[in-house]
Amino acid sequence: MSESLRNDGRVWVPLRAGDQRPPGQIPEAERDYYLERRYPSFGNLVPRDVASRAAKAVCDENRGVGPGGRGVFLDFSDVISRQGEAVVRERYGNLFDMYERITAENPYKVPMRIYPAVHYTMGGLWVDYNLMSTIPGLFVLGEANFSDHGANRLGASALMQGLADGYFIIPYTIGSYLAGSKPGSGSADQPEFDAAKAQVRERASRLLARRGRRSATSFHRELGKLLWENCGMARTAAGLKQALARIPELREQFWREVMVPGSQEELNQSLETAGRVGDFLEFAELLCRDALTREESCGGHFRQEYQTPDGEARRDDARFAHVAVWEHRGDGAEPLRHTEPLSFENVHLAQRSYK
């Protein structure tokens, strides 16, 4: 569900581990409003990385709620009794309806159950200040580029970045590129196009020729679980190394054993999925490599080895106050890490506290 719900909802879990009572039967004194307790000044409005880790922590203590125990309550009863249901409906009606469709529970009456999940990420394709990528003429706008989010993804900003890039930046920057190129000078009957087409056909043929035993979706699931465990909300060097050892094996198995039905002469969603999973198997390795190299905790990147005594992220600005840009150097070749330093002229870097 949308992060905006935390503006009015209060997050809590039962105080006692293994408490299976429905939320209405747990008295106030036996509830742990853990965000308000740990972060009295920010409370339920701490940034999403902090809120996510705190939710994971209480669930790891066996205090999670709902089937599977991976959930915390997001409770609107206070705001409803203070401001009325109509006000809450006006603000969040669509989200409440969506929640009810998925869970068959009425969040006006019983607290929502929420848990962090994979969503948009902070990184993207490298672009210059004109939003042009390393390929001349290829501009990358919106969340596909890396430029706006730092170590933490800004909330509710998929539209923001699309609008900011499209409305404020590209109208000023694309002109200078267009001025230097002749319209209509490019065409598709060039050897580069034929080579690219042949490469795509060859890759698709390779996927279709296997006729193995496992669907691309099953590889996708295994890869997703591996990353969720080892490159998710809490990371360690040991876990990342384990994932970096496993991903090449999985990739090799994928190209040997994947089963893709159909042909490439027709619409084939299985082939599309397989092509994407093939890409994910490359990209997952890069994510882990990047997380292993960055020996600090910062925003959504939390390395368990690098934390303050009270469990908060500990940055290392002397070594890591930079953006890492990985250069693809061909299939199978190790990517090259470039850095772009982050310099702050007016506001200086400091450890932030939400306590």
Binding site: P171, T217, S270
Partner: protein, 257 residues
């Protein structure tokens, strides 16, 4: 729960289609309809058969990609709910579920349950751009919009362009879709300069795409997953009448593309 699916299978736009009987076993009531189809597709793939092609993207009910006809109703039995947000708890164990694509002449079948809805894109493109300076942030109070206009425009903008309205209409009319798109801009100050030429161009494009006329069955509003009101059809007709008197139809250009 166990279900029997009767699914429309069609290899491409030119091929003859047919219904295929597929058993869906051990379906969890907490699955969404599309998750149920995912599981069925895994089974078909493992059995060496071709999986059912269907459109989907966000699975949050906001993108407009998904949509199939379930037991005769576009998006299925839950009012105000897209196919991706429909959950299996609304079906009974052992039930037979008939799944078909959205059917309309303007929406040719691509494969199985996927139809080509690019006719909608062409109608939108015909509407063209709005005149608006870009490059700098607009001043916050330069353009006042009343709460009523903002809310009504928002209700029109809720249209996700899924095409259920067309699939539900006996005439395969796209009036609710076009009404929503015309009203969304027509209600706001930003949409005023091109208001009359826009409605002309969009209605012309709608007719050219082969959508039928509106004869007030209002099945469209009944199945709309975003509850877009049929009032917007009234607004569309009023704007079109206004356009006839107030503006000469401008030839739609392709500048918007």
């Amino acid at each position: 729960m166990n279900l029997v699916l009767m699914v429309w299978r069609q290899e491409n736009a030119r091929a003859q289609g047919h219904m295929q009987r597929i058993e869906a076993k051990d379906v969890s009531p907490d699955m969404s309809f599309l998750e149920m189809l995912d599981v069925v597709n895994e089974g078909l793939t493992e059995a060496g058969q071709s999986p059912i092609a269907f459109d989907h993207d966000c699975r949050e009910g906001i993108c407009g990609s998904c949509g199939v006809v379930i037991n005769g109703v576009p998006h299925g039995p839950q009012p105000g709910t897209t196919t991706c947000q429909l959950h299996m708890r609304h079906f009974r164990d052992g039930q037979v579920i008939v799944i078909e694509p959205f059917r309309a002449r303007a929406f040719p079948v691509i494969r199985d349950l996927m139809v080509d809805r690019s006719a909608f894109d062409r109608v939108i493109a015909a509407g063209g751009f709005i005149t608006s300076p870009t490059g700098s942030a607009p001043d916050g109070n330069a353009m006042l919009v009343s709460k009523h206009a903002a809310d009504t425009a928002m209700e029109a903008a809720a249209c996700i362009g899924c095409g259920a309205c067309v699939a539900a209409c006996p005439n395969a009319s796209a009036m609710l879709f076009v009404g929503a798109k015309v009203s969304h801009l027509g209600l706001l100050p930003q949409g005023q300069p091109e208001r009359w030429s826009r409605v002309h161009a969009m209605v012309a494009a709608m007719d050219a795409e082969g959508f039928g006329g509106c004869t007030n069955f209002l099945e469209c509003a009944a199945v709309c997953p975003k509850n877009v009101s049929s009032d917007f059809i009234g607004r569309l007709n009023r704007d079109l009448i206004g356009a006839v008197f107030l503006a000469r139809p401008r030839v739609a250009s392709n500048d918007a593309g």
